[in-house]
């Protein structure tokens, strides 16, 4: 395998793993964020504060906790997940879940209650009202997904601790950058950094364009 093939494989692996992690986080975090944004209940403020606090969880600390859980002697060792791409997806999804929840909550909360009340006065039922709030929150939800994906693809601690930086298996862009830096291959490390940044900027440009399309479609 040439260096170019290797870099391509690592880049695709990063996209697949972190993309899957962000999608998993969205599938779980979006409903939580919408509920927290729309409903008022006891303990709500505690929950939103908790999720915001968890945004600062150091990646290496989460990596350590997950290592202890996934280790063959650990409580989840029987799953044999350690040093697999699946462990990385789970770890990164957990890492970015607080971001997904917090940004969604904040967005939905800021749209509501006016839009929801308006929809309800115009004769919409509760479900339609929630849909109109979601529609108004689109920009914030897209930002939540983008921020989650960015954090997932740029983190190092979880990938090193539960992925192990295995060549051909769990080696992703950030662990490669770290490895090439310790190996003294500075140019290669910098090239990988440029790849990561170019990818993420392109991704966000495409996401913005897509968002405009969807917005146009939703209002037509």
């Amino acid at each position: 395998m040439t260096v170019e093939d290797e870099i391509l494989a690592i880049t695709l692996r990063s996209l697949v793993i972190s993309g899957a992690a962000a999608l998993v986080a969205m599938a779980i975090g979006l409903p939580i964020g919408v509920v927290l944004g729309l409903r008022r209940f006891r303990g709500r403020d505690t929950l939103t504060g908790l999720f915001r606090g968890l945004m600062s969880l150091p990646t290496v600390a989460l990596g350590l906790l997950l290592y202890l859980a996934f280790s063959r002697n650990g409580p989840l060792g029987f799953l044999r997940l350690l040093y697999t791409p699946m462990a990385l997806i789970i770890g990164q999804a957990l890492l970015v879940l607080p971001i997904m929840v917090s940004i969604t909550t904040e967005t939905v909360e800021n749209v509501s209650p006016s839009i929801r009340d308006l929809a309800l006065t115009l004769g919409a039922d509760e479900r339609e009202a929630v849909f109109s709030v979601m529609r108004e929150s689109l920009g914030g939800i897209v930002l939540a997904f983008s921020a989650s994906f960015s954090r997932a693809i740029s983190e190092l601690g979880v990938a090193l601790m539960v992925g192990g930086n295995l060549q051909g298996l769990t080696r992703v862009l950030t662990t490669s950058i770290a490895l090439e830096t310790t190996r003294g291959e500075i140019v290669l490390g910098l090239s990988l950094t440029v790849i990561l940044l170019t990818l993420m900027i392109s991704f966000n440009l495409i996401l913005n364009a897509a968002e405009r399309r969807v917005r146009w479609w939703l209002w037509e």
Partner: protein, 318 residues
Amino acid sequence: MTVIGSVAAYYYLAYAARRQVVYIGTTTSLYDTGLLDRLGADYEGREPGVTIAFISAGTGIAIEHAKNGDVDALLVHSPDLEHQFMAEGYGVNRKIFAYNFFVIVGPEEDPAQVNGTTPDEALQRIAAYGQASGQAVWVSRDDMSGTNQKEKALWAETGLDYDTLRQEPWFVSSGSGMGATLRVASEQRLYTLSDIGTFLKYEAEGLIQLADLVENDERLINVYSAIAVNRTRIQHVNFEGAMRFITYLVSEEAQNIIAEYGQDTLGRPLFNPAVSVLVSGGDSEVASWIRSYAFFEYQGTLYECPPPWRVGDYGLYS
């Protein structure tokens, strides 16, 4: 998008799961040279369907991984920790596969004047210079790595206590890997102990400005061994996979790769193959250094792996 993502993830994971993986815990100083990738690729070419997965960490954490059953074999360079690991029943079938020498490196102007002295003398001069000047003079990795263990042993041989020295102002703890520590030494004009591989690589890349001051001394010998994780102590380990890889490591093909590695890129080999030294020229000077440094005593005789810690017959010991 979700559908595409999950389908891609599924195929990717299914592909990854089909291969048989042998997990090898190893030390950063060995992995960062690139030697293991070369050996792993060669081995995978010989055994299709097998993936050799190197988990690169300091010797301390690598041994923790092995005790938790997260790796199938270890490639490490700390005889004391290895002996403890095997005595606790975690490891079997130890085989010494390579050696090289640590070097004491430092600023080219060499303020403590250690160039060409023995390690013992050099460390005493560095400590005396540090205590007299009160400025930072020595940087230690201080991370329980194999290199750090060696450093502690060297300080102990000079009659100085590492844990006391650590508290003194001239003694800096970097708490990081060999490459990062060499860079600290280069930037701050400090002395340090390094493995030869990382030092040569960083020097060739122009990343550090340090001189190689003390080398090729018996006390600086650095011996790398392979140990299989004991399957009767830790269930689930891929013992046969680990033993096949260890058998490969001591084969002539692998030993030749070790002997030549670094010659083309750095102008000199980074490692010396150990198997032929210990077998045929068993009475050479280096062989006796390896014996006294890295062999374990059992009932009055020195062994690279004492008989009670050998399992099965893989033709490793003759």
